[in-house]
């Protein structure tokens, strides 16, 4: 059928990176002076955050090891959501109905049947020629499914 390898992993890579960055920005903005030390103090003003002093530890420190677990978890979380929604976008689901569902024979696909569907929008489609072709290659049951939407 010439189905190419799915491009989903690329989207997931960027989704995961977005998670890492979200966590890093959230942590540094709320716990440290990382951004204001670099002349980006307006970010703290926009987000209305100020560095929280915990256990008298200096806010100038960006303690990456302590920030790492949350960065890791958000990377995984964002990636997983990208997988879910990316997959649905790629395969065009969910959809409420499909003309194929009107076919009684179609229901066997999810049990032990094998089903070939040739859509009318295919440029080489012709009602007679396609039927004849399918008969030639040994189809057991050929059915015309009409789209009444």
């Amino acid at each position: 059928m010439g189905v190419k390898r799915s491009k989903l992993p690329w989207f997931v890579f960027f989704g995961g990176m977005a998670g890492t960055c979200t966590a890093f920005i959230m942590e540094t903005l709320t716990q440290t002076t990382f951004w204001s030390d670099r002349g980006l103090g307006f970010l703290e003003k926009i987000a209305e955050t100020y560095p929280t002093v915990v256990q008298a530890k200096p806010t100038g420190f960006v303690t990456l090891p302590a920030f790492f677990p949350v960065m890791f978890e958000l990377t995984i979380l964002f990636s997983a959501f990208t997988v879910l929604f990316g997959l649905l976008a790629f395969i065009g689901l969910p959809r409420w109905n499909h003309p194929l569902f009107t076919s009684k024979r179609f229901e066997k696909f999810s049990d032990d049947g094998f089903f070939v569907s040739i859509e009318a929008r295919d440029p080489k489609f012709s009602q007679e020629a396609t039927k004849a072709f399918l008969e030639k290659i040994g189809a057991k049951n050929i059915e015309l499914v009409e789209d009444d939407i």
Partner: protein, 498 residues
């Protein structure tokens, strides 16, 4: 047929590939598998289901009562007092979260390592993960005291515009557990979609068909769908693998990053992960062995599956035993007298040493019986060992958390913990909640991944029925004389007749 062939090969002493044990017995057809698994959902539930379901609902009610009582009265209804501020609640939290790990291990790590036997148990194990994490989440939520302020844990500024302390292991835990729950749920649901479509296609029109239709998202099983779907499934497996290792590591950081003797140990993360997988597999077997016999799934969950899981229990149990011993050794060998004293009190002459012996016996000695193959395939023996492990893993967390705090650095405040009736009934109640969820899962969703298990049947193998002798055999390459009787039918296959 295959079995007799390989037997004759062994007799003649030739080099042949061993037959793989089939993962679906009796050459069941695709439609048999569909009918058998969907039948569980479509038919009336057997008597045994109701016998388990009704007490589970009652226990869930008791659990709810205990939590309401706690909210109305205060956390003091639990038995914790200084210095034992983490007691049954955190023990139960770690216990339940550990149970979940086997589900993710089966669904993700065994998927990446191409362990095809996972398909018969992964769906139920993933469901178990989700329900166990739900039970686990209850305890820290109520442990905070004022449960209506539990939203302070979420990464949003609280009422005083103060953010959480992202350097705290307790907050890491919030992120780890909530991510774990979400990703496990996504993984489980995505795996369910094709099977929900199967159920949808078998239903008569009505409310059931509509519900299965909505949740199967209009799945049509098209080749293009499967192509993306399988990529997505593999990605989720690849994401869940580091996730599952991280979750219990982060849980162990709650202890390991503190300065409390007995907790401050670098061995904790791997030790916790091994223990979680160990306890989780015991719970998988505890659930699956009854399911298998109640619903007649003997051809799908075969003795080989049980054997494999028993081997994992043996392996991880032994790792856990090594960790217990190494912990003791490090306390002895390290130069910290407090650490050594903690371990002496924990295992030799403290007030709660019997917990330590119960833990060691249940977790390290009980699974050793699995060295014997007969025991790994004897269901009663497997069930008994699993019960020991289930109990032992709870004791392990109790030993780590409670017995350590009972004898901490200030002898003046030493106190032995006594559980109250609320502690005990809440914990028992969570078992009811867990079982109720699991039984509802059996009632409404396919317990075995129908689409995946079809892929491991002999019928799905494109080389089914072919002989092993294709390609160059060692006999030919080395110029050995091979007796013609080695080959099926006594004829040397053309491919090897070079």
């Amino acid at each position: 047929m295959a079995a007799t062939e390989s037997a004759s090969h062994q007799d003649s002493g030739a080099y042949t590939a061993l037959d793989r044990e089939p993962l679906v017995l009796n050459n069941r057809s695709f439609s048999w598998i569909t009918n058998r698994i969907c039948g569980i959902v479509e038919n009336k539930q057997p008597f045994g289901w109701w016998v388990l379901f009704i007490p589970s609902v009652i226990l869930t009610g008791i659990m709810a009562f205990c939590f309401v009582y706690l909210i109305a009265t205060g956390v003091g209804v639990w038995g914790q007092k200084q210095p034992v501020d983490w007691a049954w609640d955190i023990t139960n939290f770690v216990f339940w979260i550990g149970i979940g790990h086997a589900g993710t291990l089966i669904s993700a790590i065994l998927f990446l390592t191409r362990q095809r036997w996972r398909t018969s148990v992964n769906r139920a194990a993933e469901a178990m993960t989700i329900f166990a994490v739900m039970c686990a989440g209850l305890f820290p939520a109520f442990h905070v005291g004022r449960v209506w302020m539990v939203w302070f844990l979420a990464p949003i500024p609280n009422a005083n515009a103060i953010w959480q302390n992202f350097k705290s292991p307790l907050l890491w835990d919030v992120f780890a557990v909530s991510t774990y729950f979400t990703v496990s749920a996504i993984f489980w649901y995505l795996g369910l979609v094709p099977d929900l479509a199967t159920l949808r296609d078998r239903c008569k029109p009505g409310i059931r068909k509509m519900m299965y239709g909505i949740f199967s998202l209009g799945w049509r099983g098209a080749n293009r769908h499967w192509s993306h779907y399988e990529t997505a499934y593999m990605l989720l497996a690849a994401l869940s693998t580091p996730l599952v290792l991280s979750v219990h590591s982060v849980v162990s950081f709650d202890f390991a990053t503190s300065v409390v003797p007995g907790w401050h140990a670098t061995i904790f993360p791997p030790y916790f992960v091994a223990g979680a997988i160990f306890g989780g597999f015991a719970m998988v077997l505890t659930l699956m062995i009854p399911v298998r016999s109640i619903y007649g799934l003997h051809d799908l969950i075969t003795p080989k599956h049980i054997d494999n899981m028993a081997k994992i229990i043996l392996l991880t149990g032994t790792i856990v035993g090594y960790a217990y011993s190494m912990e003791f050794f490090m306390a002895y060998y390290g130069a910290n007298p407090f650490e050594l004293q903690t371990f002496k009190l924990r295992g030799l002459y403290g007030p709660s040493t019997w917990y330590y012996y119960a833990m060691f016996g249940c977790n390290v000695f009980a699974p050793q019986i699995f060295w014997i193959k007969k025991m790994r395939t004897n269901l009663i023996a497997v069930m008994i060992v699993c019960m020991f492990v289930n109990a032992g893993m709870w004791y392990e967390r109790y030993v780590i958390i409670v017995t350590t705090l009972e004898r901490h650095l200030t002898p003046g405040s030493w106190r032995v913990f006594h559980a109250t009736w609320v502690d005990i009934t809440t914990f028992i109640g969570t078992f009811g909640f867990f079982m109720m969820n699991f039984l509802l899962f059996l009632r409404f969703l396919p317990v075995i991944a129908i689409g995946e298990v079809k892929g491991v049947t002999p019928a799905a193998d494109p080389h089914a029925g072919e002989s092993h002798e294709h390609g160059v055999q060692e006999d030919d390459a080395m110029g050995y004389e091979t007796p013609a009787s080695t080959y099926p039918g006594g004829v040397k296959p053309a491919a090897t007749a070079a």
